[in-house]
């Protein structure tokens, strides 16, 4: 572009910092618009009077301004802004919406690498996400959701909406929220599982749904929320449940590729505040069997039984071993032992100890737990009785398989956790716009 172009910067420019030079003749502002910021200058001269400079210096931080300025090239690169080779020489400046002089938090604190301002930042949600990093994170998250929908729609999936107020706890157990429902009570859905499966039985062949999931787990960890966005897939297959695994992993790989190819700017922006290794993956996705995982852990010195479930430290260690051997952050562990899976998991026809179920891991942490589901009402009843589950409570679930159900399987991922692990962040609350956990209910 030619030097000295005039430009009118629209409404949402917000100066996060204003500096007045000592003699009062110049005022530097940094104007920000979503992910990018640029230095601007008001100097006493033909277009600006001394009063204007004083006015500019007194604008509260984070106010919204309208600016008419001339773009000028600078010789020295401006390190502190995203636009490093130009600055604006302001000719007119107006305040559109003034911010209060005392802000609940300083945005400079928000951009510091470690979580000092975390608590305050979580509360002032109208302010915290204004940092370039947060903007980048949430834009990336929006893109993940979009890639998920696009990839599945191109594969012929149908998007469905499932109810969140349900009459019976779908996964069984104590981790449900109860709501009062007129004269009785109802529950908030822990997962759309039951309804996804009913849609498959209703001959939709391939479905997915995007919606909130509510888990009343009293876990205060870096990766648990009580409410999160679940991206769930369910599909009927023709010959072998590996078709389901391939479909899900292909969707994930398309999401990763879409982010890798088109969102490098956002990934770099996040990387400045939270540095991490870039995310690596293989196509087609690596699939290891549970017994192989156990053997790798045993080789590394861990003692565990053949049918024992993987503890979180073991999962992380296995993730590191896989990363070292295959150099991938994303892989599938197939053929879990039957004993550690829910009652509706289809057992392995070749080996009674194992099941047709799988978990997927990103950076050593689990993001998806899925399986081939039992589609025969008789077998389902047997397995439920084996697990001592009250058949009355799941009667309608079992009934849906009595009228002709295709073999099917699926799984679900959490949007926030996937984003967190893709970017290498350490707390899922950073990727949740308004996080919910056992101790947080507002904003």
């Amino acid at each position: 572009f030619t030097q000295s172009q005039g430009v009118w910067l629209g409404i949402s420019s917000q100066p996060p910092s204003i500096h007045l030079s000592s003699k009062g003749k110049q005022c530097f502002l940094v104007l920000r618009q979503q992910q990018f910021n640029v230095q601007a200058l008001v100097a006493v001269g033909e277009r600006a009077s001394k009063q204007m400079v004083k006015f500019a210096a007194n604008i509260n931080k984070e106010s919204i301004v309208d600016v008419e300025a001339v773009v000028k090239k600078v010789e020295q690169t401006i390190e502190s802004c995203s636009q490093q080779d130009v600055e604006l020489h302001i000719e007119r400046i107006f305040v559109v919406s003034q911010a209060e002089p005392r802000l609940p938090l300083q945005l400079e604190d928000c951009v510091r690498p470690e979580g000092e301002g975390d608590e305050v930042r979580m509360r002032a949600r109208a302010l915290g996400p204004r940092t370039t990093t947060s903007q980048a994170i949430f834009r990336l998250q929006s893109r993940v959701c979009q890639l998920f929908r696009d990839t599945l729609t191109n594969k012929g999936f149908v998007e469905i909406q499932t109810p969140k107020i349900i009459s019976a706890a779908s996964e069984g157990g104590a981790n449900v929220f109860t709501v009062s429902y007129f004269k009785t009570s109802a529950y908030l859905a822990q997962s759309p599982q039951l309804y996804k499966q009913m849609c498959i039985c209703a001959d939709f062949d391939k479905v997915f749904c995007v919606g909130p999931v509510f888990r009343a787990e009293d876990s205060n960890t870096h990766r648990h929320l009580t409410e999160f966005v679940g991206l769930d897939i369910e599909l009927a297959f023709n010959y072998h449940y590996h078709e389901v695994i391939e479909s899900i992993t292909d969707t994930m790989v398309q999401i990763f590729k879409g982010l890798r190819d088109k969102f490098q700017t956002e990934i770099q922006t996040v990387g400045k505040q939270y540095p991490s290794e870039p995310f690596k993956f293989l196509e087609p996705t690596l699939r290891l069997e549970y017994s192989e995982g156990v053997a790798m852990l045993r080789e590394a010195g861990v003692e565990m039984g053949d049918e024992e479930d993987l503890s979180t430290p073991n999962e992380k260690l296995l993730g590191r071993l896989v990363k070292e051997k295959y150099d991938t952050d994303f892989y599938v562990l197939d053929k879990y032992p039957l004993a550690v899976r829910p009652f509706y998991t289809m057992p392995d026809p070749n080996d009674k100890k194992y099941s047709n179920s799988y978990d997927m891991f990103m950076r050593g942490e689990e993001i998806l737990s899925g399986a081939q589901r039992i589609h025969d009402a008789q077998l389902l009843t047997e397995r439920a009785m084996h697990h001592n589950i009250d058949l009355e409570k799941i009667k309608s679930y079992i009934d849906s398989f009595r009228y002709g159900a295709p073999p099917h399987g699926g799984g679900g991922i959490g949007l926030e956790r996937v984003c967190m692990l893709y970017l290498g962040l350490h707390n899922v609350r950073q990727t949740s716009m308004f996080p919910r956990d056992p101790k947080r209910l507002t904003p």
């Binding site: 010959y239 072998h240 293989l282 196509e283 699939r287 156990v294 150099d327 026809p349 025969d376």
Partner: protein, 323 residues
């Protein structure tokens, strides 16, 4: 493959009304399965009826078998006219030996070569740059598949945005049993990645990664067949392998023509480069020679040797990538 089985929908006691006005044939199926001794009776019946017929059948079988043996012998002889005697033993004398017998000596050997099996697939992971596909390793992979049950898979790493289709199918079609990794003795995972040097990883606890196509080729060859026990011969093999990879594949034009002259000289004296049989030296040199130029541009002895190599049939996997 065994899968969830649907229970039979129809019962098997459907009654049908047969017409009574037609001539009824005795049921030919019921006769055989009705009683155990009826089969015996049938055989006896034919013996009684026509013993000469059975003798005739037996004689015919013998003649056909003899014919096949002769045909195979002639084929073998035809090959020896163009190829030194590496495969003569196999084609002529080992007809009765089934191929599966040789491939199942596999597990015991693998345990001694690679260490005890901990109950999981022993997976060899090779990271290669798609700009320089390792032909030698593809040939060795084919030889491994003949001796062991190998689960082969090809992946593309995220550091590479895309590879041509022939690189994705270079290890051959997917094995029908590949959904159960446990059924295989060895895994061969080829990952196309942006690496500067070819790299192999096998046991991350006990082994460091192996770099360089020559070194990985040596490792894989030892799983296929042992190195010659004579130290001089073993060194000769190693020296040719190094020559192939360093001077032929990566050298300047002068170095390459020098190597081709040396090859020409060596092949004038012996049919193979090191000893009486095909060895790793021949495999490596074949791949590197053809990577640098078409066969027709090599000296005469080298061309004859290239043809002999092709006749052995091991080099099939490399050919599509040479075009």
């Amino acid at each position: 493959m065994p899968m969830y089985q649907v229970k039979p929908v129809f019962g098997d006691d459907i009654k049908t009304d047969l017409p009574t006005c037609m001539y009824k044939l005795p049921n030919i199926h019921a006769q055989r399965s009705a009683s155990g001794c009826s089969e015996h009776a049938l055989q006896n019946g034919t013996e009684v009826v026509d013993p000469a017929f059975r003798d005739l059948e037996v004689r015919q079988d013998k003649i056909m078998r003899r014919l096949y043996e002769l045909k195979a012998a002639v084929d073998g002889l035809a090959k020896t006219v163009t190829t030194p005697d590496a495969d003569l033993d196999q084609t002529v004398t080992s007809l009765s030996q089934s191929p599966t017998a040789t491939s199942f000596r596999g597990t015991a050997d693998l345990d001694s070569l690679l260490g005890k099996d901990l109950g999981a697939l022993r997976d060899i992971v090779i990271n290669a740059n798609p700009a320089r596909p390792p032909l030698t390793l593809l040939v060795l992979h084919a030889m491994l598949c003949q001796r062991y049950r190998v689960l082969s898979s090809v992946h593309v790493h995220s550091s590479v945005s895309g590879v041509p289709a022939q690189l994705l199918s270079c290890l051959g079609p997917r094995h029908a049993d590949s959904y159960v990794r446990q059924r295989f003795q060895l895994g061969f995972t080829l990952i196309w990645k942006d690496v500067s040097k070819l790299q192999m990883k096998f046991s991350i606890q006990n082994m460091c990664p192996i770099e360089g196509e020559a070194n990985v080729a040596r490792f894989l060859f030892r799983l296929v067949a042992p190195y010659p026990s004579d130290p001089a011969l073993a060194t000769l093999v190693d020296s040719w392998v190094d020559t192939a990879f360093f001077q032929l594949a990566e050298g300047s034009a002068k170095e390459r023509s020098a190597v081709l002259r040396a090859l020409n000289g060596a092949l004038g004296r012996d049919p193979w480069l090191a000893g009486p049989e095909l060895s790793l030296a021949d495999i490596a040199c074949y791949c590197c020679v053809l990577q640098t130029g078409p066969a027709a541009s090599s000296p005469a002895n080298v061309q004859r040797w290239l043809k002999a190599c092709e006749n052995l049939g091991h080099f099939g996997p490399a050919n599509p990538l040479l075009q």
